[in-house]
Symmetry: C2
Subunit: 367 residues, 2 copies
């Protein structure tokens, strides 16, 4: 491929770092030249990614570390648990890894979130690097320092804000991604349009076919622009005391879908796809956007190969079940759910909504 | 009692807070007046402390919170595990606790470390308050933001630096402390002398009998001076990149004793007591202090009711077992153990030592 490597900076003072975006980056030793010295590296991946890429990453790291350890976790959201995390600690401690050991997260969002949380808490913090191998991780989860594991009662409920030292987004690895996973990543790409950049939303409408065909220049633009918007938001509100919550557009409904269906049944981006339709519909019913906007966004989500209707989580009281799950959302306060809504072109806000209105939205948007 | 309430400030910018030291503080609503508003509080204590103090704390908090939840953990270092931590998350999630919920750690070091780690990671961080009920927690573990749980392979291996919003050291609760626990706390008090303040060391020698009798003024001085020294160190090096490691004087050997004997068999302060003798002996054999200093410190530790000899952890190769356990210490780098040694009056340093010398120290200091 011929894409020129680009850098996006996350400005967070002494916790700041670079996102490198381009081709053939992850297996190039030069990509890791700026990392702090250490005797040991641990590559955490999963059983799907490891056979494809782990030996190439290992080779790239050989000049920098005396020892390169490897650990494969099971693949899937349903394994984003304490038990998997414990495997990382066991690997580190049984090999006598010290406080300078660098962890490399080679995989998608699940590997990245768990490796990041392990790095945040092993000996109260060791350095880590994100090497995302899915579109979703490249445009969203690997950037910004949110790390977590799931709890049976709610997604990402236990975690930390802990920034990586570096993110290496190698576009060439996306070619091995199953179509369904690629579409799931597109949900997070699409998200950035309505919340922050109407021009980007227009570009996505024009470029969706090229993106689905993984045309290099289109893919590079989508990843770079997504990372730029995320970097801008995170740079202003690292720990989500305000603005950062807009990145959760579609996620309040989406997390309820993921938790309600059982982790791993719907992919994260699929939940976010249907969730964005619901959040747009709610914005419309709150009088913030017109029906044409909801239609436009729904059409784009559909073209990306994503569901635009939520699943029925409870045959008796579906809306009630959604509400029950959403009350546990991290944005909730004193039992009041706070939704990310669109309140103008490229502009999002966080606000509560009457239960009755939310019920109507759920009834209208589930099938 | 008649002790005037005193405040010690931890200077850490927007993560700074006050330590209040005095009598009848923990059950006084005024002690908590500066905390951020929230609808829910969770008091985490243990099965020993709860019957004594939890209802009084609850009453003091009633004006500030709509809901006050309670959770009792089992008592003892052997329960400082993920399983106990999970109980805190279960309690929070099953009650639908939001991101503003304030956690209160009412108990000793184990309750404080676990509640702090739960606060650091629940929804990626909620506020928490330390209400230490042991001398050890008041002078050391509740101050400075080190939170952790143990791993079967090493003590405090999984945790976070996460500061409380407030520490309330109520001296009157120490009267119910068993003698052995009180002595364990004295180990951490004594520590501050050799590493930072020879005058305090001299005062401790003069005042040990009064301290053991819990004379109010002596106790207040010991707690305040300990907190002042800790605040000074933590204010300079919150995340232990350098100076803060001196607070671990005696702990490299002490943690090996605790892990090697099985958590809970030796109290933390007992391990630190014997560990300080070993660290002083090592300092002497490295030519940094004279034999009289080792004798003086050993005598003080003995008077505090603490062991001055380490246990035999392995009948075949005792020193080898200590070394194996200490190599996992968080200060170790690339397999080299780094010891906190005394290298002058009231001055500590961190440095490696030849295995052979460490073996001699262990052989000389175990019984």
């Amino acid at each position: 491929m011929t894409v020129h490597t680009q850098q996006v900076a996350i400005e967070l003072g002494d916790r700041g770092y670079q996102i490198a975006i381009g081709d053939d980056l992850f297996d190039n030793p030069a990509s890791y030249a700026t990392l702090p010295g250490a005797s040991t590296a641990l590559i955490v991946s999963n059983t799907t990614v490891a056979p494809l890429y782990v030996s190439r990453l290992k080779q790239a790291l050989e000049a920098g570390y005396e020892r390169i350890l490897e650990l494969q976790l099971p693949d899937g959201e349903e394994f984003k648990t304490w038990e998997s995390l414990q495997k990382v600690f066991d690997a580190l401690l049984s090999a006598g890894c010290d406080r300078k050991t660098v962890l490399f997260a080679l995989g998608g969002g699940v590997v990245g979130d768990m490796t990041g949380f392990a790095a945040a808490t092993y000996m109260r913090g060791v350095p880590f690097v994100q090497v995302p191998t899915t579109l979703l991780a490249q445009v969203d989860s690997s950037v910004g320092g949110k790390t977590a594991i799931n709890h049976p009662l709610g997604k990402n409920m236990i975690g930390a804000f802990y920034q990586p030292r570096l993110v290496v987004c190698d576009l060439s690895v996306l070619s091995t991604l199953p179509k369904r996973e690629f579409s799931s990543g597109l949900a997070e790409v699409i998200k950035y349009g309505p919340i922050a950049d109407t021009e980007f939303l227009g570009w996505l409408e024009v470029s969706m076919d090229q993106l689905l065909a993984q045309a290099p220049e289109a893919l590079a633009h989508a990843v770079r622009r997504s990372c730029e918007i995320k970097a801008w938001v995170v740079g202003q509100d690292e720990k989500e005391t305000g603005l950062r919550a807009i990145l959760n557009f579609g996620h309040t409904f989406g997390h309820a879908i993921e938790t309600g269906m059982g982790y791993g049944v719907w992919l994260h981006g699929e939940g976010v796809g249907a969730g964005m339709v619901m959040a747009a519909e709610l914005s419309h019913r709150l009088g913030l956007v017109d029906a044409a906007f909801v239609k436009r966004l729904t059409r784009l989500i559909e073209r990306a190969g994503l569901p635009t209707k939520g699943p029925v989580l409870d045959a008796q009281d579906n809306a009630g079940r959604y509400l029950e799950l959403m009350r546990l959302d991290k944005k909730s306060e004193a039992g009041e759910i706070r939704f990310v809504v669109i309140d103008g072109p490229g502009r999002a806000a966080v606000r509560p909504a009457p239960d009755m209105l939310v019920r109507q939205v759920i009834d209208a948007c589930c099938a």
